[in-house]
Structure formats: structure tokens, C-alpha cells
Amino acid sequence: MNIGVDVGPTNTDAAALDDAGAVLATVKVASVQGDPVAGVVAALTALGSAGATRIAVGLRGAATAVAERAGLCRVAALRIGGPSAQAVRPFFGWPADLREAVEAGAGIVDGELGPLPVSLSADLGSLGLIKRENATILDAALSRFALDTAERLALALPGAAVFVTRGDGTLLTSSPRLKPGDSHPRGWELPVSPQVAPGTDPSRGLTPAPQAFHLSASPAAKTRTGRLGYRPPVRIHGPYQEKGNGMRKS
């Protein structure tokens, strides 16, 4: 049995489908303000999720957090670049309040960094230095939110592989980002699309809530991370991650 859950601002909807894709049951429960996971748990309880083999969850928390400038980590941005990367500084053109909530400092450096958890822009964005940089800063800003939500979901939904939905309705499978030889998690990929990064295209401004919040956990991920001795069984993917064998939400 597959279950899909969509957490909206007012209501949380859940549907159970059999393996052929036929709808078995649906429920609608009130969302819990500020606690999307509570809404998921309530919906699954109401639906009866005992036989679930896969659960897909769509959350809006990340986009809301950015829109409300709430719960964001402060971020120091280091652009690694030489003379051809100087004309626009990091955070230039951001809305003042978002910048105040996030910026802890910024600089353009030409050099290497030590072993730190890093949000890698190459994994997140598409072509366009400033757009990609802004997406990466927001990714780092949302890391605590993501970690908390991922851990709570993993605790709340034991025994089932948890998939996540993307803003376009496709599902992501887990794709562990820890590679043998890594000494630390390589950062959390969050669904901040470069299109929503503020300041990149002042004519459009900050587009609110364009993407659901995505995360996934699967036994495979647990096994692999367990074997390598890493704790987090949950991966959080950005929209530019490869699609995996995405299952379409009907």
C-alpha cells in the first residue's frame, strides 16, 4: 500500500492507494500551525497506515520559513572566485529583511576551505553564478529546519520507506550523499530552487512557496549509512537532484 500526504496551510490531506494505484481511502485533517509533522501523523492515524509500504510527504515548510524569515540559520557566504567573479557581491539585491535574517558575513575568496559541512552549489543550481549562489545560501539557512523535520519524520514513521514529493508532483527515492571515505555529512540539499532565490532577478522578486519540502528515508539508505557508521538515514533533496525512479503522484 502506498500513502501520499500533502500538508497545506489549513488542512493535511492523505490518500492510501493499493499497488495497482486504486484509491483505497482518503482523509482530511486540520494542519497544526507551525508543526507540519504533527499534521502528517494525525492524517496517517486517521487513515490507518499499518499496511503502508511507502509514504510520500509533501510539505511547504521551507518556502514558508523563507517567506516569513523565520527559523533561518545565519549564513556566512564565501564565494570562491577570482578576478572574473567580482562585479556583484554575495547578498547584493536581497530584500533587506531577508538579508538581515540570514547574512552573517560574506566574502569572495580565492583558496581552499578545511573540512566543514558544506552546501555545494554545484549540486543545487543551474547555470548562473548569482542565482546558484543565492540558492545555496538559502539551502544552508534551512539546514536546521530540515534536520529537525527529517529526524522527527523518521521517528514518526518507523518501518516504512519514506519518500518525498517534489513540487512538480514526482517522487524522489533516496540517494545517499555520503560516499565512502567521507568523514562527515556533506550538507543537506534543500528544495530551494534558484528561481525563488531572492535578489537574482529583481523584476520578479521572491516567488512564494513554489516548491514542496522534500525528504526521504529508505531502508537502503539506512543500511548503507549504517554500514559506514553514519547516523542520518534521511536525505533531503533539492529540485535539481537527479529524478531517481520517480513515481508520479496521480
Binding site: G82, P83, S84, A85, Q86, A87, V88, R89, F92, G93, S126, L127, G128, L129, I130, K131, G199, T200, D201, P202, S203, R204, Y240
Partner: protein, 367 residues
Amino acid sequence: MDIDNELLPAYARGCAVLGSGGGGSVSMMRAVAAQALEEHGPVRVVQPEELDPGALVMPCGSVGTSAVQVERIGGRGEPAYLREQVEKLHGSRVEALMPSEIGGANGCVAVAWAAYLGLPLVDADGMGRAFPRMDQTAMELHGISPTPAVLCDERGRTVVIDNVDGRWLERLARVALEAFGGQMASSEYVLRAAQVRASTVTGSITRAAGLGENLPTPLLTGKVATVEGGSILVEGLGADGGRLIRIEAQSEYLAVFEDGDLLAAVPDIIALLDTRSGDAVQVEQLRYGLRVGVVRLECDPVWRTPAGLRLGGPEAFGLSGLPGPSGRLPGLTAPGLSRPSGPLPGPSRPSGRLSGAPRPCGPEAEK
């Protein structure tokens, strides 16, 4: 008139419209100009007569493809490197800058560079729009020598090209562009203030600012129905329901057809405006489903002369045998509209003055 951060959004929007769908990444270079204006203050815009007749005016801009430009956003030293060489080669001081092309990103590049150098901008440019080649300028048509021309990068690596005509400048600059990694700063067709009125497209900067504030009325408003090679179909919506037009494009939009009639053609400016934002949609930003208004603007009269049409008219882009606007075009009638033709024949241009990157097709292109 001054360009400050209050006027910049309208000015940049106008530059994008004059880009005729090409001319590089305006949003990127608008950000560069915004930071330059914030740090250095407004840029004064002067009429050529306000300058000493012998004052040296330095046309300048960035050359390359937008795909490189959004990644390699530029340094701050390029205009100073250009100026140093130009002053050495011409034996006098540069007293004003001028955009080589007003259309697209280079309109904003000139603002940023004038701010860096603390120099005014002359209310003029070399094209009155965007063109893919360096020699497609009004100065070329008026007999101003393109050389000595200076090319440089962010580190001040510099190439001087001399004793060539416009064609050869283009040929040699292409080679340098590749060596520079797909992007360089350039100054060519350097002239004196007394020559500006007669040899350039004057009023370009005020035209761009005015256009950005009062967008032109579209020929048709509709939805992008297909984008295939260099052919774009736009289906009319609302009052234009039932109409179907085809736009031919390379780095810029080149021609608009409806039922075999030519509605607009290069060297006139063809712009597609996003109906929600009013922003010009560049060739490489086009995708299925976009709601656009298709706009035609008159080019500068210099492009209507026989020499102007040879240099910047349809035949320069491989579009031969076009009638005047609204004339019937043999062989290009309604059936041709149901299936867009492939890319137009014509010279291959891997990168324009600031042209779009080759566009991938299919769903992947929308990433």
C-alpha cells in the same frame, strides 16, 4: 539626465526591448550596474554637443555569450584597462563612454563601467539595438575606422587589433574571443565628440529609458505554441484569438510572419514582452506556454539605407528575398505555418556580440 538606481530598472527594461531578443543577460548586467551605481553614485548622460568637440569618446561593451556571462560575471578593472590602451593609442584622454550596443546587456555594462571610471555616458550607441557582429554599427556605415581596437579580459590581458576593416576586426576578434574563454571586453570605432552626432545612433540612452517606462503596443498577444530550432510559433489569445504568427530567430528575433505576410523584419526591432511582467523575453528564455506580446519597433534610419540593409538587414542573416513589411511572400504561405521550418540557412554564429548560447531542445531545456 542621470542614470541612478531609481531609473535603472526602466532603463534596463528598455535595453532588453531594444535587444530584439538578444544582447546577453540583461538581468545579470543590471545587477552589476546597480551595485556600481550604489557604490559610485549616478552616471551623468550628456549630449555630444556638451562635450569638447575634440574629446575622445570610447565605445565599449562586453563580447561573448550569455551562458558564459552569467557565470563569469566580470571584474571591475576592464574599463580601466580599455581606457588606458585607448588613450595611449589615440594620444588623448577619454572624456566619455558610449555603449557599443544599447540593446541587451551592453546597455547596462556601459552604465557600470561609466560609474567605475567616473565618466559620463554620451546619449548614443553604435547600433540602436543589438546585433551579433562587432562591425554591424552606424560608425562602420559612416566611415569611422574600427581600429585601433582594444580587447581585454578581467586581468588586463590585452589584444590590440589595428589596420583592418570591420569585417577583419570581426574575424580576428572571434579568434581572440575563443582564446579569452568566451568573454572579453572591447572598444572599437573610437571617435571624437564632434563625430558622434553624425556617425552614431543618437538618443539611444534616453530612448531605452523612455521605452522601459512606456512599453510599446504589441502587434499580437498570445501564447508561445512551439519553439523549434530558430522558429517560434505564437498563437493569438483574447482579441487576437485565431491568429498564428511565426517568428524566425537566431541570436535575435529576425522576422515575423502571419499567413505569409511579413509583419516585421530585421533591422527593425522585434521584441517579445512577457505579458505578466512586461519584461522582454530573450530568444534563449523562450519556452512553450509563455504569454507574450509581440512588438515591432522602428530601427534607426541609418539601417534603412542600402549600405545599412546590406550590413544589418535580412540578407546579412541569410534571409533573402523578403518583401517589405506586409508584402506577400512567395513560397511562405499558410501551410508553412502549420509546420515550422528548420533553422534558417545562413552563416553559423557560435557566439554573437552578446548572443545566446545554443539552445537545447526538449524538456531538459527548461531546467
